[in-house]
């Protein structure tokens, strides 16, 4: 994995997407067969299961922060660069999910918690604006894309913060995290690639990660080996 500081995620994606040849449909099929052969029982796997971290059962400030950053990614994906990021993120969340738990949680924050969230979000949104870069319309950017793949005993669910490209021209997935870039994120990026490969039958060209906490970003080319590792990292699968 390459850690980088100066070029934006978009710059690096441009380079990566025009590089290596994608994984062949036969190789994608082999990955599917590998997952298909995994033993039961039936279970559903979520991205949080890959992190291996037991999250809070209800809404939390961290979840709210993540959801608000997702809304900013959404706005940037269609070329809307907000000048009042915090206000816009809240407005966007309320317009998208006005009745949701997180909006309710936001409405009940104390003044102190609100101020803290405001400061936190300002910092993250600044990094996002600086480090994500301009996404060309021609890349067909889609934000907060849900996906699922049901293979054998498993149902793998996922949400991609940003998807660019098409299945015919090559896909790239971007994970925007408010945490630091670490091994956990690397694992999750492999999971994103695996779910997309199983869902569409075509492996993405690469997966990128951007930490709005540190400004670090990483790009991760999808290979047959990385997909094999992703299968072995599924919960309940013993590494071979």
């Amino acid at each position: 994995m390459l850690l980088m500081t100066s070029p934006t995620v978009t710059d690096r994606l441009r380079a990566a997407r025009s590089g290596d040849a994608p994984i062949s449909p036969e190789q994608s099929q082999q990955i599917r067969e590998l997952v298909q052969a995994l033993p039961g029982p039936c279970r559903t796997i979520y991205p949080r299961d890959i992190d291996g971290v037991e999250g809070p059962s209800g809404p939390s400030l961290a979840m709210l922060r993540g959801a608000l950053i997702t809304q900013l990614v959404r706005l940037r994906s269609v070329g809307l660069h907000s000048t009042h990021a915090v206000r816009d993120a809240i407005d966007a969340l309320e317009s998208y999910d006005g009745e949701g738990d997180l909006v309710e949680f936001l409405r009940h924050l104390s003044a102190d918690e609100r101020a803290r969230l405001h400061a936190d979000l300002s910092s993250h949104s600044h990094v996002l604006a600086e480090r994500l870069g301009h996404i060309p319309d021609g890349w067909r950017p889609r934000a907060a894309v849900r996906s699922a793949a049901r293979v054998g005993y498993l149902t793998l669910r996922d949400v991609n913060d940003l998807v660019v490209g098409t299945i015919t021209s090559g896909l790239a997935l971007v994970d925007v995290t408010t945490a630091e870039l670490d091994e956990r994120l690397e694992r999750r990026m492999r999971y994103h690639a695996l779910v997309e490969t199983l869902r569409s039958g075509v492996a993405p060209t690469c997966v990128a990660g951007l930490s709005t906490a540190t400004g670090d970003s990483a790009i991760y080319p999808v290979t047959v080996e990385s997909l094999h590792i992703a299968v072995s990292e599924l919960p309940g699968v013993s590494p071979s």
Binding site: P25, R74, A92, P141, G201
Partner: protein, 269 residues
Amino acid sequence: MNLISYRLDTADLMSATSEPTHEGVVIDDARFATIIESHRRHGITPRRVDAWTIEQAGAPPTPFVWSVRKTRRTLGNAAASLVISGQQRTVAAAVRAEMGHHLDLAVRGWANRGTLSWWIAEQSPVAQGIITAEAVAWASDICDIAERSLARFTAPSDLYIDLPTCRTSWRARRDLLNDDGSVMVRVRGGAPSTTAGAGLRADLAMATVAARGEVGPARIVGIWPQAGMALALNSDEITVAVGIRDLTAASKVLAGIPSAPSPRERQLA
């Protein structure tokens, strides 16, 4: 019901959306008159029936209110149509053009209260951005399907069928249609439910009735991009007949007429 399940890889998608070897069903005037008669028998109350009504077993619809999620299909399909027909180069530009068109209608005062144009104009610029993002995601899926299929597709409007004298209107949703009209495609969010097949059958039956006197679609394909799944249903006399029966039954339920007791219920009584 003979539903054929496909995955969303390119080979499967091509196979699901390829031109069928069989023909669709023809509904003649006499059969159409029978459909009207069977609806009239179940009252002459205003009813709107679509595939969703069938999937919900005739549950009465809740009052319609626009939301970001509800705009994505209308805007997304219109934008996909612009891209597929070559009028716009990118999906985002096409969605922006559609948004501009709706805002223009509202500014000129041509949008009535409750219409999409009116609702969009009422939203903040940020909410309009989120609406655009949702529509871009939807339109991208439609364009992706059209590009990966062998047949040439267009993104047509939905079909509306009014049954004369019984105040019943049907709406058959369709997101893509191939050149000769033999394959219609519906794109859905989430994953297929257990009643998804009945919904596809209803859309197929309505499209066949809409083509009255001519051959209806030979196949309907339901595509769930998020789940990477597609279900195809071929048209034949029985499938269309059962679809029409479901639509009639839904009309009956919407008119508040209780369904006939089952043999078990009769036995218990």
